[in-house]
């Protein structure tokens, strides 16, 4: 990779664009301004749109001579870096080692987005040299994806004219094993909320009160244990209603790109909780506990009965589930199962967006498959990704564009975890893909 490109990539990674932390709004804004300067240099006209103290949305356009319009969506915000003590290199100082860049955001999505934009630049340079026409290219780059994109989702209807397109390119997902190209034919939706359980009016002495006073830590444990049965099946009334089952062809294709149970176990360091990975990750919803905190957690012991417990809960949704209804089902379940003498509250929630599946025989998928076959003789697999890009569901509706979601992540990238990284080979693929698909649109 050219030194200039690598330096810019590192510059971008050093900006601590953590969207979930209000204290990092300045860094998010700096990141948006950095990207604005980058795309202006590439010939785009760009604006930053800001709403409600959210990180800015970068909207940009480069008018072309072709009738086609391409929309590129990406996000410049990243997950929080904690737990900090597990990082082997500083989380916001990119470190190149064995052709991999280690940094929060090295892959998700600053790395993939920057690689893709570099490819867009390559394409524009080539067309310019050959004096060839280009399509109109629009960019919609936001800084709140890791927090569910509330601002962009809210402003999307206002932006209809500025983001409408024929195809929407998204480079925020993973390729299959060994970097075999993958086209995402479906994404799960996501929504999340915080649950707070309160027992007594203060932390109590576990000797003076133990046996007669409600314990919020234990109450939260009991409460959360009602969400699933012992086989992990969701036990929330109404939550599974209306789910659209996948077709036989979807199931067959999904199976193709799945790791084997052994590979999966090697990756996560323990056995999977299910024998059918394709179904569990692509076609079934989840209710996950992202965190529980209550009472003492330091060295030694503190014999208290905790008064308060909080849990962070998120859900992955599949087509047929509406996020609002799913949230309400789980909240109602928790209220109905609230232990005696305790109070359950929901201090925070985000409705997120639903999941979707795209028909695998559409013209845009056929075109993408051809381009990817040129890049890799193995050809592309179709994936029903378990992850979510909630805003893509919304942009798909508003822009009228057919989503073409092709990313170059790998399971070992440790996105959302300490020691996130992105290989230079992956960067190169994302860059090449951007150039080639634009050549063929």
């Amino acid at each position: 990779m050219e030194a200039k490109v690598l330096n810019r990539y590192f510059e971008l990674l050093r900006l601590e664009s953590v969207s979930s932390d209000p204290a990092k709004l300045k860094e998010c804004t700096q990141t948006a301004m950095w990207l604005k300067a980058l795309v202006e240099e590439m010939g785009f006209t760009a604006q930053l749109e800001t709403r409600d103290f959210a990180p800015p949305v970068l909207l940009a356009e480069r008018k072309g001579e072709n009738p086609a319009t391409v929309l590129v969506y990406g996000h410049y915000d990243v997950q929080p870096a904690d737990p900090l003590e597990e990082w082997k290199t500083p989380p916001f100082e990119p470190t190149l080692k064995d052709n991999r860049v280690y940094c929060r955001g090295a892959q998700d999505d600053k790395g993939q987005l920057f690689a893709f934009l570099t490819g867009v630049g390559d394409y524009l340079d080539r067309q310019s040299v050959k004096n060839l026409p280009t399509p109109t290219i629009r960019l919609c780059l936001e800084g709140q994806e890791e927090s569910g994109s509330p601002a962009l989702i809210k402003m999307a209807p206002e932006l209809r004219k500025r983001i409408s397109a024929d195809v929407m390119l998204v480079c925020d997902t993973a390729a299959a094993a060994d970097l075999r190209p993958a086209i995402v034919a479906g994404l799960r939706g996501v929504c999340h909320f915080t649950v707070k359980l309160t027992g007594a009016n203060r932390d109590l002495h576990s000797g003076e009160y133990g046996g007669a006073a409600p314990n919020a830590a234990l109450g939260m444990a009991r409460l959360l244990s009602t969400l699933h049965d012992e086989r992990g099946e969701i036990q929330v009334a109404g939550f599974m209603d209306g789910i659209e089952a996948p077709g036989a062809e979807e199931k067959r294709l999904a199976q193709e790109s799945m790791p084997s149970p052994e590979e999966f176990a090697r990756d996560i360091g323990t056995e999977a909780t299910t024998g059918n990975l394709a179904e569990a990750l692509g076609f079934k919803p989840t209710i996950e506990v992202n965190g529980i905190h209550s009472g003492y957690g330091g060295a030694g012991s503190k014999t208290v009965i905790p008064a308060v417990a909080i849990a962070k809960i998120s859900m992955r949704l599949v087509p047929g589930q509406h996020p609002r209804r799913a949230l309400d089902c789980v909240k109602r379940h928790l209220e109905e199962h609230c232990p005696q003498g305790m109070k359950v509250e929901f201090p925070e929630e985000a409705e997120g967006a639903g999941g979707f599946r795209l028909p695998v025989d559409s013209p845009v998928f056929r075109l993408a498959a051809e381009v990817l076959k040129e890049m890799d003789p193995r050809g592309a697999v179709f994936q029903w990704d378990g992850a979510s890009i909630p805003v893509v569901s919304v942009l798909k509706e508003v822009s009228g564009a057919a989503p073409l979601i092709v990313g170059w992540g790998q399971a070992g990238d440790r996105i959302h975890s300490p020691n996130e990284s992105y290989g230079l080979d992956q960067f190169g693929k994302a860059r090449e893909w951007a150039r080639r698909i634009l050549e063929n649109v």
Copy 2:
């Protein structure tokens, strides 16, 4: 109260003697040295005994002319102050307001201990003025009670000669409602440990892996929910074996000093989990979760599947339960119920000590009841305290002394909680009690 006494009390409270925090060992040692100077001024010969980097044990003796020997046990260490944000005044800066002193340790046990020692000083001064004989008084003041007294429990057998006595006075418990005197006729034992549950080899992205990877937060919730049934009854095999049931007279007396269910509910801000407070707090064991920590707990959302969860667990034990066996039963239960694909470990444990009950018609109890009747015409009640002073069980055996446990706490003192306080009236009672019981021994 004399200004000199109040100033010294405040001096003692300002020392941050948190024994569970290894970083506070210096402050614990300073506190022990402060107490050594205090009792030397009262005519005691004192030594600090230190083992294994634990806070020192202060042993002191003042030889008397009477044949009787009295041992005074107390502890100068305090609970950690967290959660700091809930304190209305600085936790280690004593604040006098409406005749109450607010500070961590204002009551438990620096306040009660200092009040008692002040009463010992009053007694010695009076005897000296009247030129009257005194018993031999021994002191055993330690700085690790809130952490289960491991060092003192370990060194107790070596100290046999220096702590042997006829009566052991302990001022570390609560009086009954409205400061009616109470003699503790039983204490529960206590032991504690930390449980760590590990699922995957790192925190995982809840979209990429959700539905197929084990979740340590949820696993911990499910695991802890197996400890009790829905009525709160302990479900750990073997844990309840061998428990010695209380007699009818004990049950009757215990009932006398119990708050009503309404009073109890007012105190803790919610209803009790049982209708029989006397039985639940005095005669039944508990397994409490003192804390759970796993995954994300900050603002907004972080959609991870936590790899690790820890929980802090403590048990209150009753006569017939051996701490080692109780610990082993609970650990075995957790191992047997460990969710599939996860690993359970116990990185820390403390065996603590068993509980005991004393016969209510003993000579020392009859004497104490007479003295307390002189102090308060309502007379004393007997209490089977739900709390534990593990080292008292051990010192009782080693010293051969009959424990006489009379303290002047009140439910509103918020010991172990933010905004701990001690009333000057309570201080006065503890001081008077020390003087009067020594006059009658």
